[in-house]
């Protein structure tokens, strides 16, 4: 026991008197409580008297100490009495003790078991699938309305998003595609050189980029760059009730907010894919010229000869599909945002993750279709 913190004495009738020598505040209560518990554990008196003669200041932590003390004594069958309370302290205790029956412990959430959590997750997944199907339907209807001239095509908004998703993405798409072409050419050259097949690096890159890598890389970049931006933009609008305001004014949210973004992605995606294909070849060309003793013209000639129109068109068709999917899922996640800043963050992340998953899913579908039709 630290006499600087707490003095004790025993009355003639056996009551234990505790006299704290420090304020009952945030800084002191923890240490004081440890002292008191030690003393009570050793002595177990019939009644405890807490003498406030030295207490001039008390705060919420001090009240928490008193509550903990009351609870401990109640559990151990010890009566508690206070004495010599200063008027200021008494007013504080009276005011805060209007919080009667406050438990010394927060509410504890009931944790579901794994079966419940699995059920909740499956239910949420099914709900999301339903929303995606419903959203796809509303997008399709909005497209039909434009083509039948029932609704105007929003050129200004679409051009704005083409600039944002397309033109502004050119540097990053170029850089990543160039570097990917460089890397692939290096990796391929190591093997092909052994068989004297240096020139086939051009074939590899041309086919890989036009049929698969170009569309895929471009789509992933768009998902991270534009899909997340759409989700954040629409999500913030939802949090600020701007979407509700548009709805109440009579705007069709899909037609007004979503379609310009999807049209922009559908136009910008294939164009960026063409850029990606070209830059990937350029990356390979650098390796071919510097490391494989090829000439630029022989490299490009080889790439030109191996490519079919179907290779280019299938790649562009994939890119078209990927871009629409990325734009749509970004907008959907934005519309699914609930109240609060953390929901905007979650949906933005989900837009990217879902976008990448859907890119691969759609890619698998296209691969099967092209195989069936031998494209």
């Amino acid at each position: 026991m630290d006499p600087a913190t707490l003095e004790t004495s025993v009355a003639a009738n056996g009551d234990l008197i505790l006299i704290p020598a420090v304020p009952l505040n945030q800084q002191m209560v923890q240490h004081l409580w440890q002292e008191i518990r030690q003393i009570l554990a050793q002595s177990n008196p019939p009644q405890l008297v807490l003498d406030f003669r030295n207490i001039q200041t008390i705060d919420s932590a001090g009240l928490a100490l008193l509550q903990a003390l009351n609870e401990y004594c109640r559990t151990n069958g010890i009566d508690v009495r206070y004495q010599d309370i200063a008027p200021k302290v008494e007013r504080f205790l009276t005011f805060l003790n209007s919080a009667k029956g406050v438990a010394a412990g927060g509410e504890h959430l009931v944790r579901e078991n794994w079966v419940s959590r699995l059920g909740i997750a499956v239910s949420a997944g099914l709900k999301d699938a339903r929303e995606q199907i419903s959203f796809s339907g509303s997008v399709a209807v909005a497209m039909v309305r434009v083509f039948t001239h029932a609704k105007p095509f929003r050129w200004r908004e679409t051009w704005y998003y083409i600039q944002l998703c397309g033109a502004d993405a050119m540097p990053i798409v170029s850089l990543i595609s160039f570097l990917m072409g460089l890397i692939m050419a290096f990796q391929a050259a190591v093997q092909l050189r052994q068989f004297g097949g240096n020139i086939f690096v051009a074939d590899l890159l041309a086919l890989a980029f036009t049929r698969e890598l170009g569309p895929f890389l471009t789509a992933v970049i768009l998902a991270g760059r534009s899909g997340s931006a759409f989700a954040a933009e629409i999500g913030t609008m939802k949090v600020n009730e701007e979407v509700d305001a548009l709805t109440v004014m009579g705007f069709d949210i899909t037609e007004f907010l979503v379609m310009p973004k999807i049209y922009a992605m559908a136009l910008a995606g294939p164009l960026l894919t063409c850029l990606s294909n070209w830059m990937g070849l350029m990356g390979g060309l650098v390796v071919g010229v510097i490391g494989l003793d090829l000439t630029a013209s022989s490299f490009l000639q080889e790439a030109y000869e191996i490519l079919d129109l179907s290779d280019v068109l299938t790649g562009l068709l994939k890119s078209f599909g990927f871009s629409i999917v990325v734009g749509a899922i970004g907008c959907l996640r934005g519309l699914q945002t609930e109240q609060g800043a953390d929901s905007v963050g979650r949906q933005t992340t989900s837009a990217v993750v879902s976008g990448i998953f859907l890119i691969i899913f759609v890619d698998a579908i296209f691969t099967v279709i092209f195989h069936v039709f031998d494209w």
Binding site: S60, A61, L63, A99, V102, A104, G105, E107, D342
Partner: protein, 279 residues
Amino acid sequence: MGSSMMSAATESATDRPAETAPEIIRVEGLDLGYGGHALLRNMDFSVYAGEIVTVLGGSGCGKSTLLKALVGLLPPIKGRVIVGGEDITDQDPETLMRARRKMGVLFQSGALLGSLTLAENVALPLKEFTGLSREFIDAIVQLKLHLVHLEDYGHYMPAELSGGMRKRAGLARAMALDPEILFFDEPTAGLDPITAAEMDQLILQLNATLGTTMVVVTHELTSIFTISHRSIMLDRERQGIVAIGDPRALRLESSDTLVQAFFKRQAFPLDPSRRSDAR
């Protein structure tokens, strides 16, 4: 809220703390603004321990700007701000930290962290700045939530609550560390009349019982007359303080037409020649 509070429905600010009460906040020659452009100029005033001071004025006059300066979120263009004995003008991190330990702020929308429950929001400063055990922190959290009558809502997320409840939760968090000074940014904005009256009564009770100094930014006339010991009125056009004093006295005695128009809720004359504040 509880019957003890409803029975004090007509309670209003008690006598102003004695003139000898120590200065808690002092502002000297203060210019405030954004991007180097001053909104408010040459402000001088003090707030004394135990006072409730309301900061009022028309929309855009700089009330929230002044509040930001007092809590150290906005460095002044010129002048000094001393809060709780700490000169926070230079925004020195350690000085700001010491000053902020003495203050609590209720922001206009509550500013609760959306990813935490109400109880976790209130516990946050206690966990961060005290060495108290989980048991004590939980008890204090429950106490604070009970003070604002949200004791059954500790496990709720902020998004699940109404605006008024979020404000009350924000107040519970602002009080978590038992600060010497509480700042309020439009505490009754957006509240229904009953909840607004209950908020006013809570402010008065906290002041009367805990002696907490309070600075309340508001333009709600009912609140101003209910809670204020003194008021500081700002004006955008005059770029500074146009009146300081007991709002009841200002309403009756001020010859300034702007002050009169504000307190009597009248349209302010647009013709400068009809205004006593004409330069």
